[in-house]
Structure formats: C-alpha cells, structure tokens
C-alpha cells in the first residue's frame, strides 16, 4: 500500500528530469533568442523587442491579477503612465534636484505599487463590472491629470524620458536591461503561479466560497498581488519612458490597455507562457503589417470579442493536449480508509462544537429558530429533515458564512466568532458543499492542495523567490495531497483537469480537499447526492473511518439508509427547530419523524 502512494507521489512531482525539461524548453528557446538577438545588429528589431519586453514586465504582473485572480483590471495602462511620468519627472529634475535614473525607476515602481493597491481596493468588495469600471475610470483620470498638471508632466508638450547610464546605456545595453527585467518578471510570476498562492488566486477566481472555507484570506492575498502588479507596471512605465525618449499623454492610449489585456486572454488564463507569447505576438504584429497600424485598436477589439465569445480558454487550452487524451470509461472509486491514520495525523484530542439557541431569519422567513446542537469528536452526527428545514443554513452558520441573530457557537468551550469563514480552516473546521465547488481548470491534485493552504509556512516573498522553505512546503503539500487522493481512491486522476471528472468523483475530490486540513471537525453537505448505491456504501465506510480516527463529523444527508448505517447520533430538523434528537434507533421509531419525514 505504501508503495503505490509513494510512486503516485513521484508521478505527481513530474516524471524526472525529462518531464521538467519538457516544461521548460519553450522558455529556454525564448531566452536564447532574446540573448542572441543583438547579433542581428538590426536596431529596428531591437526596438520592437525592447517594447515587447517592457510590455511583458507589465503584463506578467497583470497576468496574476487577470489570468490567475480573475479580476478584470482593464485600465492597467494607468500604472504604465504613472511609472513613466514619475521616473521621467524625477530624472529630469522637475521635482527637486535631478535624480539618478535608476533611483527614479525604482521610485516609478513604488508609485505603481502604491496606486496598484489603491485601485485594487474596490476589488475586495465590488462586483466584477464595478471593478472593471473603477480601473477604467482611473486610467481616464490619470491621462487627464497628465494633460493638466503641466509643471510636472509638461502637459500636452510632454517631457523627456530618463536616460540610463552604464552598463545599461541606450542601445543594446538598454536592450539587455529590458531583457533581464522581463526574464526576472517571468521567473517571479511563474514561481507565484505554481505556489500555493497561485493556486489560491485561481481558487478565488473560480470557487471563491470554497477558497474561503480553505482558509484563503482574499483581501490580503489580492492586495499583495495588486501591489506586485502595480510595481511591475510602474517599472515598465519607467523603461517605456526611456525607450520613447520623450513622452506625452498621447503615448498612453487606452489601446495599450486592451493590448495587455488580450495578450493575457489569448495566452490563456492561469498560464505564464501563453500570455508571454500573446504579448510578444501582439506587440510585433502591427510592425509587420504597416497599413494596419491605423486599424490596430479595431483589430485588438475584434480579437477580444472573438476570444470572449469563441475561445475563452486561449492558446494554453488549445495546446493542452494532455487533457484531451480520453479517460478510462468505467471508473470505480475505491476509497482506502486504512490510509486515514496517516492523512489525519495526530488527533487534537476531544473536539466539541456546541450550538445554543441559534436563530437566523432571512427577512420574514425563520431559517433556524432556536437550535441546540452538539457535535463531538469521534462521532458521526447526522442532520436530517425535509427541504428548507435549516440543515444547510446550520452548516453555514458553523462555517461562518451566516451571522445568526441570536445564540452562541463554541468550539471546545471557546467562542467561535460568527462570520469570517476564512478563519475556520486554521481552527480545523473543514467542509464540503452541496454543489461541489472546485476549480474546473486546475488539476485534481491542485484542487486538493488548495485544502492545505493554511499549512504552508513560506511567505509570499519566499514563494516569489523560490526559496528553500517554499520548496519544502510544496513537496510536503504534494505528498499530503496524493495521500489524501489515495485515501478517497482517486490517485489515478491526480493530473486530470477537474472539470473532466464525473459528478460522483467531484464529491470525493471535495472530501480529499477537506481531509488536507487534518480536520478536527468535518462537515459534509449531502455527500451522497448523485452517487450510485455502491459508491454510497463505500462513502459511508470512509466517513465512518474518518470519525473513528477522532474527527467530529457533521453529515447533512437525505439518504436515510446512509444516515442510519453510519451515524452515532441523529438530529431531525423541521422548520428550523429540532423535531427529535437521539440514536438512530430512537429516531427510527420516533412517531412524528416517521410521519413528517421518513414515511411509513
């Protein structure tokens, strides 16, 4: 048994050096072309390449915002503008004494970072369109300010860009400066993308509620990403000002924003290589089709429309040949509960969740009306009742999505704060959802690893720089996730995109994700819905084994057989109140329950 999981883990980390090379070969080729390009000694091509590198410095950061986190930051050209004017104005001595160009460039990055956060703030509370509009408005206003603030920006007349001194003087020196910065941008964003932070961003994009339940604090993470993307935009701006040698507000058209944006979308969301290629192609394209320059915005816009309507997955999806191999048709899920001891590790002692007098109403509807409930470690507690009786609402109160109007909620005798769902994970409370909430575009393994978010120790910076603690985190998390997958019987599908799985498999993936937390309390919301009779029996065995390992299990279910098979205690709800509570045998013979819910 140990052998199979170990080899599965080995497969998960890529099949040796060959697999790693396969992933990196495109980058190596791109790098070689970049290093060797000056040999052509064609300054025209050099300028185009420099522009592509500069755009990519910005787009690489924006890719984390748009491609990974799914935030529609459409006006990111504003960061380029801010960085360009900050660098240019400081280097030209329009604000105090003349600054060294390199210092001015750093100041441009700082400016971008600051405004990245300011513009990003609304994303924490606003819906998609509002946020898109905010960034768009910001871009409009930055241009207006650049036109009007003549002392600093030179207004419509413009201001000279900074000139960098040795070793990155204008010409091929500056070319290598842009190349190095583009390479560094690629490296740090790729590191983030493949880290737990990258997975968390994608989870925020595609399964926000599940992300919170896994302990991902959206505000903090998004702010870090906006900070980074803003800084990269600002630095790109400083470089851009130097490349242009003279900047006016006209240079920062909204068209550029669209270019950055579709470069990322064409490449594909959640990829680094795709957007990099997209940016390079879009930068170079108008140069080779001179008569089209006037129409370039039109072309970009029609391309955007085409992508949104026809290929929302971008190039990366088209190239993802591995995920087009057919899967085995008749797959069986065979969980291996005997692995649970290793998955769950040392238990935290006796867990006890207590609800007292919890009441919650939506408008005039009383969803829960004075509920008392105790969930103990080592027991499966069934929560049953007709539709609308408050089962899922109870679960949502415990996991922090709803704030009840009355009552107390305690974990091991200590008050558990209402709301704040992202703080549940570190207290060892895990859950699954009635409709599985997974990231369809990520692999099954990555989905499970999202559940281990709170166990990572490396900081965002450590992940960005690929430092040892981060690499250790990744190794441990991969192994733990493979083990969790083996436990639920899905290790064979670890590298398959989650949206290719069958419904029943998704339910088990969710359980594996929850197990990653080594939960003290596991809450399952109708885990048997949509499963075959065989699968339900195996699921029952697995749930029971989880509880026997010391975890408190709360099971919301409609399948009476499953409930009476595995529960140690059952609470029946009706209209938000406890109708009956006791052992399965007591409930089965309870007259009201039988007539109201179970039927004769």
């Amino acid at each position: 048994m140990t052998d199979t999981t170990a080899s599965a883990a080995a497969r998960a980390t890529g099949s040796g050096w060959l697999g790693k090379l396969e992933g990196k070969i495109s980058w190596i080729l791109l790098g070689l072309v970049g290093v060797a390009l000056p040999l052509l000694d064609d300054s025209y091509i050099g300028v185009i390449a420099q522009r592509a590198y500069i755009y990519w410095v910005l787009s690489a950061g924006l890719n984390l915002v748009v491609g990974y986190a799914g935030q529609i930051a459409i006006g990111w050209v504003s960061m380029l503008t801010l960085g360009a004017y900050t660098t240019a104005a400081l280097a030209a001595g329009r604000v105090g004494p003349e600054w060294n160009s390199y210092l001015a460039l750093i100041a441009g990055g700082v400016m971008g970072a600051a405004f990245g956060v300011i513009v990003g703030l609304p994303a924490l509370r606003l819906r998609t369109f509002y946020f898109a509009m905010t960034t768009l408005g910001f871009a409009t206003i930055v241009t207006q300010v650049a036109l009007a603030w003549k002392d600093i920006t030179g207004g419509g007349v413009g201001t000279p860009g900074p000139v960098f001194s040795w070793p990155f003087e204008p010409g091929w020196g500056f070319y290598y400066f842009c190349f190095i910065l583009a390479a560094v941008s690629t490296w740090i964003t790729a590191n983030i993308g493949s880290s737990r932070y990258g997975r968390a961003l994608v989870a925020i994009r595609d399964a926000e509620v599940a992300a919170e339940a896994s302990g991902i604090a959206k505000p903090r993470l998004l702010m870090l990403v906006f900070l980074l993307a803003g800084a990269m935009g600002g630095i790109a701006g400083g470089l851009f000002a130097s490349l242009q040698s003279y900047i006016t507000p006209d240079a920062f058209t909204f068209e550029m924003s669209v270019l950055f944006f579709i470069g990322i979308l064409i490449g594909g969301r959640g990829s680094i290589l795709g957007p990099a290629l997209g940016t390079i192609i879009l930068t170079a394209l108008p140069e080779f089709a001179a008569p089209l320059v006037q129409w370039s915005t039109f072309l970009y816009a029609s391309l955007l429309l085409l992508i949104v309507l026809v290929i929302p997955g971008g190039i990366a999806d088209l190239l993802d040949y591995k995920n087009r191999r057919p899967l085995e048709q008749h797959r069986e899920i065979v969980p291996r509960p005997e692995l649970l001891a290793r998955v769950l590790g040392e238990q935290r002692g006796e867990t006890l969740i207590t609800l007292k007098g919890i009441a919650l109403h939506f408008g005039g509807v009383k969803a829960i009306d004075g509920l008392d409930l105790e969930i103990r470690g080592g027991e499966v507690h069934g929560l049953i009742g007709p539709n609308g009786s408050g089962k899922t609402t109870t679960l949502n109160v415990i996991s922090g999505y709803y704030r009840p109007h009355n009552g107390t909620l305690k974990l091991d005798g200590v008050d558990l704060p209402f709301e704040q769902p992202h703080l549940r994970a570190e207290r060892g409370i895990a859950r699954t959802f009635q409709t599985p909430r997974l990231v369809g575009a990520a692999s099954v393994l990555e989905n499970v690893m999202i559940g281990g978010m709170v166990q990572g120790r490396a900081t965002f910076t450590e992940a960005m720089l690929n430092l040892p603690r981060h690499r250790r985190d990744e190794k441990e998390m991969t192994e733990a996730a493979m083990l969790a997958l083996s436990t639920v019987g899905l290790e064979g599908l670890a590298h398959v995109r989650a949206d290719r799985l069958q419904h029943s498999e998704l339910r088990f993936v969710e359980i594996a994700r929850a197990l990653m937390l080594q939960p003290a309390c596991l809450m399952l919301d109708e885990p048997a819905a949509g499963l075959s009779a065989d699968e339900i029996i195996r699921l029952g065995g697995l749930i029971k084994a989880v509880s026997r390992a010391g975890t408190a299990v709360l099971l919301v279910e409609h399948h009476a057989d499953l409930i009476f098979d595995i529960c140690d205690r059952v609470t029946v709800l009706n209209l938000g109140k406890v109708l009956a509570a006791g052992t399965p045998a007591e409930i089965r013979s309870h007259r009201e329950v039988v007539s109201a819910y179970l039927g004769a």
Binding site: L126, L136, A148, F254, F298
Partner: protein, 285 residues
C-alpha cells in the same frame, strides 16, 4: 461664477444622468452592464454634427435619425455581444464582450470622423446666459426621459413586462412573456436614450470620439452612487456629480476635480458597495 457652476453643472449632470439611465435600462433587461453606454452618448454628438453640419440636414430630421441609429446600435449590441454571453454571465470574462464592441465602434469613429473635437451646431435660435439652450436642452431631455420611463414602467402593460423581466426573468419566461423580444426592445430604448444624451449635450461636450471614455465613466458614477437599476437614483446622482465636478473645477482646478470625483466614487463604493440607495446583496452559499 455661481451661475456657471449651477447651469453648466446641472446640464452636464443631466447628460451623466441620461447615460446612467442607459446603463440601467440595459442592465434591467439582461443583468449585463454594457460598456456601450458611453459609446451611444459619443455617437449622439458625432452623428448629429455629421448629419447637420456635413450633410446639411435640418435639425429635426437629424434628431430623428440619430435616435434611429441609437436604436439600431442598441439592437446590434444585444444580438452580437449580450445574447451569446447570457448563459455564462457568472464567468468574469464575459463582461468584456460589450467593451470590445464599443471599442470597435470608437475606432471606426476616430478614423472616419477624426480625432479632433468638432463643434456641434446650435439647434434653436433662442437662449443666452442662464437660458442658453446648451444648458437647458440636456436638462429637458433628462426630465422628459425620466418622466417617460416612469410612465412606461408604471402605467403601461409593456412597461410592467419590462419590470417583470428585470425582477425575475426566469419566472417571467414561465409566465409566457417574450423575454428575448422584450430584451431587444430594452436595448433599442437604451440606445435611443444614450443617443439623446449625446445629441442634446453635444453643444457643451462637442462632437468628439474621446467623449466615449469620459461618458462611460462619469455616466457610471451616478449608477454606482444611486444603486444599480434605480433611474431616480441615477438622476439625483448625475445632477449631484455634475454640480460637484463643476464646483471642484472652479474651486481647486481641473486636475484635482477629476481626482476628487474619483476619490468620492471609490470611497462611496467601499463604504456602500450597493450604492447609497441600494439594497444588500443576496446569499452566496
């Protein structure tokens, strides 16, 4: 100074309010915020100047034609960019189809009409100072539109059908309402309102392709402040925005007026994401 703050502020505020209403009419019918609102406003001015100045039409004919063009663009928006994405509205990306369309139209305008702001003709031989038509025309258009919409939504059967779609399109379809046709009608109506805003406001704002971005943002601010879907909120928000912007222009200068508007917008949205008059959001889990 006071006079010009009030007259210009209210007039430009009326244009913003009309663009806000354009957003609302499209949103109510489809749950899609369409980026085409500013485009419609921009085209109202450009097409008006084209028909009257360049082609020598009389003002009334040009006005009717401009509204017609607005309606057609509204229909195209609905068919080309809204209908195909309705099914996947939860996915973030789909916000962008309307933006792409608006940009295409803007670029065609920039190439065919030019990127310079051009004057818009005086429509009526009347008005000076306080009573200058460039101030009262947009206000009148705004008053007429809000009055007309209130009448439509509250007194007519088709207006109630619009409201039913806005409230719960699924249930409305179950009742046998022709949802698609009503949605197309809403987009045509929105197109006319947007074009009306541009046509009546163009003596102030000129016939300029760059008005698209400006109107897109400043027209959205009243919607954000007044709560989405609320036309009265949009009118109050629009007029307040116009006055605020104009006062800030005079008191602290153009640069800081733009910054001040943006700051107010962000702060309000952060404190009350649903708008000053909006209701709280629904359940997520």
């Amino acid at each position: 100074m006071f006079q010009s703050i009030v007259s210009y502020g209210l007039a430009v505020g009326a244009v913003y309010a009309l663009i806000g209403i354009t957003y609302n009419v499209m949103f109510s019918a489809s749950r899609v915020f369409s980026f085409t609102a500013g485009m419609l406003g921009m085209l109202g001015g450009v097409l008006g100047a084209l028909f009257i100045n360049k082609m020598g039409m009389n003002a009334i004919l040009a006005f009717v034609l401009v509204l017609g063009c607005g309606a057609v663009l509204g229909l195209v928006t609905e068919i080309l960019t809204v209908r195909p994405v309705l099914k996947s509205i939860e996915q973030h990306l789909y916000v962008l189809s309307t933006l792409a369309f608006a940009l295409m139209v803007q670029q065609v305008t920039a190439i065919e009409w030019g990127t310079e702001a051009q004057p818009f003709p005086t429509l009526l031989p009347a008005g000076e100072g306080w009573l200058d038509q460039k101030f009262w025309l947009p206000m009148l258009a705004c008053a007429f539109t809000i009055g007309g919409l209130e009448f439509l939504y509250r007194k007519t059967l088709i207006g109630r059908a619009f409201l039913a779609i806005a409230e719960d399109s699924y249930a409305a379809r179950a009742l046998g309402l022709p949802e698609t046709r009503l949605r197309m009608a809403s987009y045509a109506l929105a197109g006319m309102i947007g074009a009306l805003a541009g046509f009546t406001g163009a003596q102030m704002l000129l016939a300029y392709f760059g008005n698209q971005a400006i109107l897109n943002f400043y027209g959205f601010v009243p919607v954000a402040l007044g709560g989405m879907g609320s036309n009265r909120g949009a009118v109050i928000g629009g007029l307040a925005l116009g006055l605020f912007q104009q006062a800030a222009n005079f008191l602290v200068g153009g640069i800081f007026a733009a910054v001040a508007v943006f700051a107010v917008f962000i702060v309000v949205l952060l404190l009350r994401p649903e708008g000053l008059a909006g209701a709280a959001t629904a359940r997520r889990v």
